[in-house]
């Protein structure tokens, strides 16, 4: 009997909002608004539209290859081949998520430290929380499965309420007298779209739940678009609130602008409120990252794209090696960015660059499939022919080229990204050639990529000695 689909449009919107909103978004929001004032809202709108175009691309790719657990990895494997797949997945996805969660951990530790003022290093809070989540994940217990929606509503609701209070000047704190606009130069606004980009990434995580969504053809893309629009509106209101209660310079320099704003707006109660909501959001994010990325590594190991030890499970059926490695990697990035708003901002921009590259690859995958399979049935198709994907590629490439207004920082980001992709490129070449034993630069037929979803695909090849 066919299982009834349970999720509607409202669920898709709440999932996409919950997956996108994170405390690091507030750092980018503070940095952007602190640099150019309320005109940052224009940069946000442009970044939101570019992300909507990318979500449309993801929706069409999902329509072509439905019910895939690997998502972008499988689209790229079928579209462009294993070499860009390995690089974009390991670099543009795994590494980026670990990096961003490490930054989230750092912001969390700073916020708790600023609230409690205990005589211990802030990193201690990150360590304690990470160890707790490591233990629960190793036991196979998803502590936050039931409250993840609640956390998302709390986060977005708190942002909206605090934004409205601030925008209307109804806070208990002192209103700051400062110009609303720090820069209205079009070139500057456009260059800030790279900072704004971070506010909207991640909505594609909705795609894996699409098989459980009623009228998925309509509700999945519509839910993602509405979710992004909602985030844009809420964060725009927050910027208006920042203008009234937080000096722009303090905002740009703060490692936790949401706390600063909460304190300035409503005093200690506001600070505590934002701290608690942000803490819950961070814990939920880290929990999702640990078990999500460990599962992705396990899936890639089954496709023979990562070492076999990632597929090993413990008695609780948890890919424990992946859980350990992800947790340690998050701690490394958290330690590296501890208490430093400059390092936090830098790592966010590096993470953005990795993610943007994977989005460009998604658009290219779409164009390849339009050419290669023009008549394959698609329950959703990006309107306007190839115009929107091309705009997506050009717009995202522009954001990478303008990732920072500081030339030294820009070259440092490009350098970090370039070196990472070079290392991944070498790993990918040798892994594909000698371990996977398939042509490095040739695409894998779509039906074969889909067949990899079946465990028997791997078992048979392992037994025959084709895959070691």
């Amino acid at each position: 009997m066919k299982e009834e689909k349970k999720l509607g449009l409202r669920n898709v919107i709440s999932v996409s909002v919950g997956l996108v909103i994170a405390t690091s978004c507030l750092v980018s929001l503070g940095q952007g608004a602190g640099t150019i004032g309320v005109t940052f809202i224009y940069a946000m709108i442009i970044a939101c539209v570019l992300n909507m175009i990318t979500m449309a691309t993801m929706a069409e790719l999902n329509a072509l290859m439905p019910n895939t657990t690997g998502g972008l990895a499988q689209y790229t494997l079928a579209g462009l081949g294993p070499f860009p797949t390995l690089i974009s997945m390991v670099g543009g996805y795994l590494l980026c998520n670990v990096l961003s969660t490490g930054v989230e951990a750092s912001i969390f530790a700073y916020a708790i430290g600023d609230l409690l003022h205990l005589p211990i290093p802030n990193f201690t809070y990150t360590l304690i929380m990470s160890l707790l989540l490591l233990v629960t994940n190793l036991k196979g217990v998803d502590v936050f499965a039931k409250i993840q929606d609640l956390v998302a509503y709390l986060m977005i609701g708190s942002m909206l309420v605090l934004g409205i209070i601030g925008a209307l000047g109804m806070g208990t704190g002192q209103i700051v007298d400062q110009p609303a606009v720090m820069s209205s130069d079009f070139g500057t606004i456009i260059s800030m779209t790279a900072v704004a980009f971070w506010l909207f990434i991640g909505a594609e995580y909705v795609i894996p739940i699409s098989k459980d969504v009623k009228n998925a053809k309509r509700n999945v893309p519509l839910g993602m678009f509405l979710g992004l629009a909602l985030i844009c509106v809420v964060q725009a209101v927050l910027v208006l609130g920042f203008k009234n209660y937080t000096p722009w310079a303090d905002l740009a320099d703060s490692a936790a602008p949401h706390l600063l704003y909460g304190m300035n707006l409503l005093g200690m109660p506001g600070k505590i409120w934002m701290c608690l909501v942000a803490a819950l959001a961070f814990i939920s994010t880290q929990n999702s990252t640990i078990n999500g990325l460990a599962s992705i590594c396990q899936g890639m190991s089954k496709m023979n794209m990562m070492p076999r030890f990632f597929a090993k499970t413990n008695k609780n059926d948890v890919p424990f090696i992946g859980v350990w490695i992800i947790t340690v990697a998050i701690l490394v990035f958290a330690f590296a960015s501890a208490d430093s708003s400059d390092t936090i901002s830098f790592l966010i921009l590096v993470g953005s660059t990795f993610w943007m590259i994977s989005y460009i690859i998604a658009h290219i995958d779409l164009l390849v499939f339009r050419h290669r399979l023009p008549k394959a049935p698609r329950s959703f198709k990006v309107p306007g022919g190839v115009i929107l994907p091309v705009i997506g590629i050009l717009g995202t490439a522009f954001m990478i080229l303008n990732i920072s207004t500081d030339p030294a920082e820009k070259y440092a980001i490009w350098g970090f990204t370039g070196i990472t992709f070079l290392i991944l490129g070498v790993y990918a070449f040798f892994w594909i050639k000698y371990k996977m034993r398939i042509p490095v630069f040739k695409h894998v037929p779509m039906q074969k990529v889909l067949a990899m979803e079946n465990d028997l695909f791997y078992i048979i090849r392992k037994r025959r000695g084709i895959w070691r």
């Binding site: 019910n67 049935p377 039906q447 889909l450 067949a451 048979i460």
Partner: protein
């Protein structure tokens, strides 16, 4: 007005969802047969390494629909959207012209007989 026959051969697991989609689209009737068959892969499962040398016939459902020729493109689109997964085994659709159709009880012919 002319009439056409649409013959769909697909995996047995897809039949119930296809029937529901066609009912929702207003298709008035169908004939279903359980058949054995294979395509160019000769019955090779998607996860296997080598293609089968000899044809292996797999159990399938054949669904026959008789509709007005004007409705054929719309119904084909519904069938394609419903059956598509991208996996080997999604199925095949054949379209035939029908010279005539007759309802025995009333003697109606052509579209009136549908």
């Amino acid at each position: 007005m002319s009439i056409s026959k649409i013959e769909v051969i697909t995996d047995m697991s897809r039949f119930s969802s296809l029937k529901a989609a066609l009912s929702k689209a207003g298709v008035g009737g169908m004939t279903v047969l359980q058949v054995l068959g294979c395509g160019v892969e000769k019955g090779t499962r998607e996860y296997e390494v080598d293609n089968a040398c000899e044809m292996e016939l797999l159990p399938k459902e054949q669904i026959n629909l008789i509709v007005e020729t004007e409705q054929v493109p719309e119904i084909l689109e519904i069938i394609k959207q419903e059956l598509y997964t991208g996996h080997i085994g999604d199925g095949k659709i054949f379209v035939y012209r029908i010279d005539n159709a007759i309802r025995v009880r009333t003697g109606d012919e052509g579209v009136s007989a549908l």
